[in-house]
Each structure stands twice: as C-alpha cells, then as structure tokens.
Symmetry: C2
Subunit: 357 residues, 2 copies
C-alpha cells in the first residue's frame, strides 16, 4: 500500500509575529484560510486514506496538529521530543510503516509548502508511485523547474532519461548540488538540466531502511528501539531521540545512493520561505500588493500585508514593504529583509519579551 509521511518539524521563526513558539508555520493560515498542514493533508485525499497518513512533528505541536486533522489516527501524529533533521524523522516513520506493511511505498512531503492544483499533485505522485513500484530498489525525488536563480534551495542535476510513467519522463540523478552561490545559481538556471529539490520523495519503506543501514548505520541501529518506545508508550524520551544522528536525508542518503531518479514537478510549488514569498502565492491588486485582511492602499505598491481580526492597515506611498499585524504585535520590514525576521525573533528573545514569542 501507499503511505504518506508529512514532515512537520519546522518552527517558522521567519513568520513572526504570525508564527509563535506555540504556533509554527505549518499551523498558520497564510494563503488559503486554512493552516498549511491541513491543506497538505486535504491535498492527499483520494490518493491516501487518512489512516495511511502520518505526520511527524515536534511534541509541542502534536495535540494541535491532531485537533486539526479529522480522520488521521492520533497515533499517526508522531511526536518528536526534539528536532533531529530529516534522516531521523524518515527513518522512524519508515520503520513504523514497515512494521505494519512490509510492502509499503512511502511518499514524504513537507507540511508547510504551497502546492496547487491538488489534482495535478496527486497525479504526479501517482505516476511516481508507479515508477517506484517498477523500480523497487530505487529512490525517487521531485525536481521543480527553477523560475529564478534562488540560492536558498538545493539543486538536482538531471542525467539520462530512464523511462516514463503516465507520459511523464523520469531521469537518473546525475548529482545533487547544495545551496549554490548566486553566480552558480544563474548557471544552473541557464543550463536547463537543474531543478530545485522540493523535499518530496517517494520510495519503498524497505529500500529506504536498507539505504539508511548502508549510509547511516548508527541511525539505523538506534531507530528500532525508538520506534518500539513510541508504539508501546505513545511518547519518546528526549534523551533517546536526542542521541540519534542529526543529518538531513539529502546529505545522509540521497547524495550517497546511486539509484536515484528525478521526475519533474508538474504542479505549482512554493516553499513560502518567508513573508516575501507570499507576494508570489497570493493574489495581487493592480499595484502589486498582496493583502490578506482589511487594508487600504494609497500610492502603495508591491507590498505584502496580513492583518488579523478585522484590524485595518493603511499604506500610503510605500513600496516593497511587509506589514504583518496580529493582536499583540506588528512587524514592518522590507521584502528584501523578510529572511531576517528570525533575527528580530532572536532580538526579542534577548530583550526578554517572552510573551511575544
């Protein structure tokens, strides 16, 4: 059977003051009016029964996540006591799934990306599942055709075409390239063989567990006990989880495996990495302003505004700003500085403003 694993480990300090210590990015309603995690689960309906959807998230967010996800069994929301990056997360989920379903195919998805239309996404996953069914020893990743020379993503270099599925070609991965500098990113985009690594993976659980045993043997040795603990007690002691090797699945496994294929993402994708990204995924007015909530723009262009609770935001003569209003705090920054919002969170922490974090 096919199973989905939604990685919901993020804390989202780049979305302060919308995101808070108790309200990470994946639980925010940034785009559709629903929390990103809910969008992610609903997007899978029709392809995965909800009892085969698992969410791996921080223990602090587990109950809130369960409350949002009708039909996903409570024990399917796996609570990490601390973050140990994606290899530990995927090793644990694959182990739990493999125990239930030794022939399982697993789709791994980030919880907090914007993907649309949902039908295109399901069709693409479906084709990828077929590829993995026919290539049981291989791993599959999706590559997003780059639309700008982004330096914040890993890139995947496409090699030879190995076949196609439902009309969509798949290719051997020639190389994974870590986040490039600007000049290299320009070259990658111009080249045409490079795509962004979107963090969407498909593989047989067995194959991934075998790969982890090969490349991350310490992790592979430790995870079964952690899985036992989760299954028997519904929690994982922080000391046990913190002892796991902390490494991403990209570095730890994908870059080291030889049988990895890439399919092009035939769906709209944005990781919404900061408030500035909302300008890409939200509707615009004629002046290029993206607004969620109540706002008036007078000679104001290319701004991103989010306003909670009926509060009205009025922008006069400003360009390229991010203005985020919440009940107790308002952020104003330039779109160019949206990635630096985490520095503001760190500053507030140093200033002892716990109530705002």
């Amino acid at each position: 059977m096919e199973h989905a694993v939604i990685m919901a480990g993020g804390s989202g300090t780049r979305f302060w003051p919308k995101s808070r210590a108790r309200l990470p990015k994946q639980l925010l309603s940034l785009v559709t009016g629903k929390p990103l995690l809910v969008d992610t689960v609903e997007r899978l309906d029709g392809l995965f029964a909800r009892e085969r959807v698992r969410v791996v998230t921080n223990a602090a967010y587990a109950d809130a996540s369960r409350a949002l996800l009708d039909g996903v069994p409570a024990q399917n929301v796996v609570a990490e006591p601390c973050g140990r990056d994606t290899a530990a997360c995927i090793a644990l989920a694959a182990t739990l799934i493999d125990r239930d379903d030794p022939d399982a195919i697993v789709c791994v998805l980030p919880a907090d990306h914007v993907v649309s239309p949902a039908a295109d996404f399901r069709a693409a996953l479906s084709r990828a599942i077929d590829v993995v069914r026919n290539r049981p020893d291989g791993l599959l990743t999706f590559g997003v055709k780059p639309t700008r020379a982004a330096t914040g993503y890993g890139y995947i270099e496409r090699g030879d075409q190995l076949g196609s599925s439902g009309g969509a070609p798949f290719f051997r991965v020639a190389s994974f390239r870590e986040k490039p500098d600007a000049a290299t990113a320009e070259r990658f985009v111009a080249d045409g063989r490079f795509s962004w690594n979107a963090g969407v993976f498909v593989f047989r659980a067995r194959t991934m567990l075998r790969a982890i045993r090969t490349h991350l043997p310490a992790l592979a040795a430790a995870v079964p006990k952690v899985a036992d603990e989760w299954t028997s007690t519904g929690r994982i002691a922080e000391a046990h989880y913190a002892a796991l090797q902390k490494i991403s699945i990209d570095y730890g496994v994908f870059e080291k495996e030889s049988d990895v294929v890439v399919m092009e993402a035939t769906f709209g994708w944005d990781d919404v990495g900061s408030f500035a990204a909302l300008a890409r995924v939200l509707a615009h007015d004629a002046g290029g302003n993206a607004v969620v909530g109540s706002a008036t723009m007078l000679d104001a262009t290319n701004n991103v505004v989010l306003a909670d609770g009926g509060h009205h935001v009025a922008l006069l003569g400003v360009d390229g700003l991010v203005v985020i209003h919440t009940g107790d705090a308002t952020l104003v920054c330039r779109k160019d500085d949206a990635e630096r919002v985490k520095e503001m969170v760190a500053r507030l922490e140093r200033e002892g403003r716990r109530e705002l974090l």
Copy 2:
C-alpha cells in the same frame, strides 16, 4: 485684566488613525502623555486664572474639552457649530470678553502646538502684555525664528525696532508674507529679518474689535447677535454661525492694520503639523527613531512609531517611516508623505469606512 483665548478649531485629519472625527489633534496625547489642549492650558497656569481662560472649539468637541479642563468654567468653552476660520472665532471671543471686562487684554493661542519650556513662554507673554498695555491701539504677534525653509507657514518681515520690554525688543511688522514657494522660503531664512507666524497674538479686546469693524464690517455687525445667543442659550444655531464671513485673522485684520508689532518667540515652538513633526519634538534613540509605546528596532533608523495599548511594533531594516498603531487601524507611510495622511482619510471616507474615521 489679561485673558487667554485658545483656538481649538482643528480636526487634525493629518493625525489619522490617532485622530478621529470625535478625537481631533488637540485632544490627542502625542508628546507629553497629556492631550495637547491640556498642555496648552496648564502652560498658562500662574499667568492667567483659569476663569479667564476661554477655549473656542467645535461643538462636537466642547464636552470632551470641558471634561479635560479642571477650573475652566463650562461657559468659557465656546462651542462653534461649524468652523468659520480665525477672524470669526477671535471676533466672538473678543466680544464676549469685552462685555465682561472693557479693559481686557487678550492673548490668542493655538490649542495644538508644542511649546516649551512653559516658564519661558509665560515670560514672553508677560513681556508682550506689557507692550500692549503701553501701546493700547496696536496689535502684537510672535515670530518664530525659522530653523528650516518651511513652505507651510506664513512669514513675518521685521521692520524697525520700536522699543523693548523686559529686555526683549519689539519691531514694527514691515510685511506679512503668505506661505512662500521653496526658493522664496530659502531667501527668507537667509535674510534674517523673517520669522514664522506662530499664531500667538496679543491685543486689547477693544482694539481688535475696532480693527474688525474697520476691515471686516459685516463680521463686526453680525457677531454681537451671535454672542447674545451664546450667552443666553449656551449654544449657537448653525445657520447663524455659518452666515459669518469666513476669513483668517491674518488676512482679514493683521495684514491690513498699520500698527502691528512683532516680538521674537523666546521659547521652543513647533506646530506639530504632521506625524513627521514628531521626529522633531520627541526624544530619539541612537538611530534617530522617535517612539511612543512599545517597539523594537533592528537596523531601523529615523522612524516615528506610536503604538497604543501595549501593542508591540517591530521595525526591521526600514528608514524614515511613520508607523502608527491604534486599536482598530494601523498607518504606515514615509515621513515625506506625512502631510498626505489627510488624503488617506479622504480615501477611507470614499470607501465608506465610517467606523475608522
């Protein structure tokens, strides 16, 4: 005796969202934590007994003004049913005062300027009162030494020195100049003989009433009946007040009288004409940010922030902005556009957002 007349006719749309239809600039606490009108009245304590302080304001603000001003008799807060500019306001106040005290000397003061230190202001008024006592047929105005080539003020050209009072010289006014263009303003400031018209006037009530009869005979003829109506009923019918000639005291009287003297304002003065002006009158942090309320600045410079009710404003990497947070609305504009806030108010009115006005 000496009497004070505080002109509190403004509505202050340049201070939205702090100012509202029911809360004009003079009732706002922009600088000291007290409403500007209260600061204006308290500044006079020791020079004028409060029963000799009159406030002329719109009927909509009369009760709120009375509630703020301990010791000022209720009937001294004169309620205009509509605005008819400063000549009508001063004609009415002078008429009411003259009926009580035929030898009255009147000091006219705007309600919504920032003046400090108060002791220097009282000393300057005191010297001006002495000048008028010795020149009973003349009018006196204060001139503020210009600190920049402002185009938003009227200028007063100083003529010959006529004498001095308490060591402070006074001069014949050579000319009044209306709001100049930028080049003319530069010339005025360089010249040294020009000062800003601060709207602070001293005169005998009798002399002003005589001047109004001479230069504005229709106004002079109509005002006594309006004064009767106020005294007997405590209100003025809008139709009666609206029928008065609408003209400023500067155009209508001062520019036409020959015996006008000017004294230099030996006190700090700012008319706080917009949020940008707050940068001049509020304390700054090292980055030039002027903040009232709770705020965190990260690489943010030269901004003006007002935040009500404990709400926290966080500015990241922005320069020269005005950010005004109130319970139901937030304004963001450039300091350079602060004069245009009234356009935002007009826009909101067109959009039917009455609840925000």
